[in-house]
Symmetry: C2
Subunit: 225 residues, 2 copies
DNA sequence: TGAATAGTGTCTGTTAGACACTATGGA
DNA sequence: TCCATAGTGTCTAACAGACACTATTCA
């Protein structure tokens, strides 16, 4: 008796920022027609390669990009007899946050699509835009009381760039004063001593204190509700 | 091609209060030996009976108790090649909150066990005590910023009884002043006008405002950290 | 009337947010 | 030197928590 993984899939919603906009990793589906159809990185559990479902999720990402997610979390498992025309199906949904450093190698057929739900609904096959919506809901909620924003930024970043993450994810952001107070408290960030130049007054560059795990604050921002 | 549910199970951790103590619903496992072995309400997806995984979870509960959960939520899906000696297995874990009203009919073999992790580790088969731990972690976290406590109480209850829920779940509780301020704000509760007598000064009895969904507050209690 | 629990008034601490202010480097 | 952006000082609002106080019923 072994796990029949025929209609069980692990789907990953990977988020990344490009030019201050949120994007989602997708791969092209083979079609006869010329119009593009896309799907999320997804696949079955491989009982030989994978030791756990997390492994399966990581493996789906690795098929499309050379980047390792700085953060990954299971969202939900959806299962019913509606999603797939063949009958009952199960999907374990993850979301992953990818940093904005350079040096990504994308597999042919993979592409970062702008995370605009209306457009994605047309571009994505199956119920994948719904899965993205659920992952996005989780991200939008958790960003407001955790250090998640840093996982979408480069290794070193300014506090304004954290503000930018909020704008990209929520379309609104807390005031810089609040972001400053929150992120400079405790040992969350380390001042690298370097400056980001090019703007007018240069901004201090911070990096994540590796000793500290993903930080959970005990209050939500109110201005982003 | 159909969903082989051989090694996929849906496990439910149902919580209920008895005498101010948290309990977990379990069912006896048939054993030759005289010592009791227990397991969580769990079972396979029935592609005919169940329209969705939530249905499966509800069905597992219904097998053991006549009570319907006031609240149920998926915790996580665990899958690896370690949990089950037969190889790869998948478990979708839910937790459910059951009110403290009377009138429960338990199926023979079902029993509410005190939610003491050390004792449960000895009583429960498989990795079920670990599943309970994960469900309990989620409950302990969410109780601190939501209206979840009310789902463990009778239809009408006093504010002191909310305090009791915190004590049962966390072994510590916020001051009554804070509970009062939080739960009497907004339209969360309705004063029934009735009083709970028997103690010295009678306490006002409240009920949940059915118009309001599960309430999420924007701060954690600090005293229960 | 006293014990016990219910419930209030009010002060402090913390943190989000508003807003005016100062600081600094590039053009 | 001007300007855009970085960053600070400080006040307010909201709410958790501490704590002293009052209120109400039962024994």
């Amino acid at each position: 008796m072994s796990l029949n993984t025929a209609l069980i899939s692990v789907d990953v919603v990977a988020f990344r920022l490009f030019n201050g906009k949120l994007h989602v990793l997708a791969q092209r589906i083979q079609t006869d027609r010329n119009d593009s159809q896309w799907m999320l990185p997804a696949g079955k559990i491989d009982p030989v390669k994978d030791q756990s479902v997390d492994d399966t999720a990581y493996r789906q990402l690795e098929r499309l990009t050379s980047k390792k997610p700085g953060y990954m979390e299971q969202v939900v498992t959806l299962g019913d007899n509606q999603r797939d025309s063949r009958g009952w199906s199960l999907t374990i949904v993850y979301y992953a946050l990818i940093d904005s450093n350079d040096g990504e190698q994308l597999t042919p057929g993979a592409k970062w699509l702008p995370a605009d739900i209306e457009t994605l609904q047309e571009q994505l096959a199956y119920d994948h835009s719904r899965l993205i919506q659920q992952a996005l809901d989780r991200l939008r909620s958790k960003i407001q009381y955790s250090s998640l924003p840093v996982y979408l930024l480069p290794d070193t970043f300014t506090l304004s760039e954290i503000h930018g993450v909020f704008s990209a994810v929520l379309d609104k952001a807390p005031p810089m004063r609040s972001i400053r107070n929150r992120f400079l408290q405790g040992d969350l960030l380390i001042d690298t001593g370097k400056l980001k130049r090019g703007s007018n007054r240069p901004a201090a560059l911070y990096k994540v204190n590796q000793n500290s795990e993903t930080w959970l604050f005990d209050r939500l921002y109110i201005s982003t509700r």
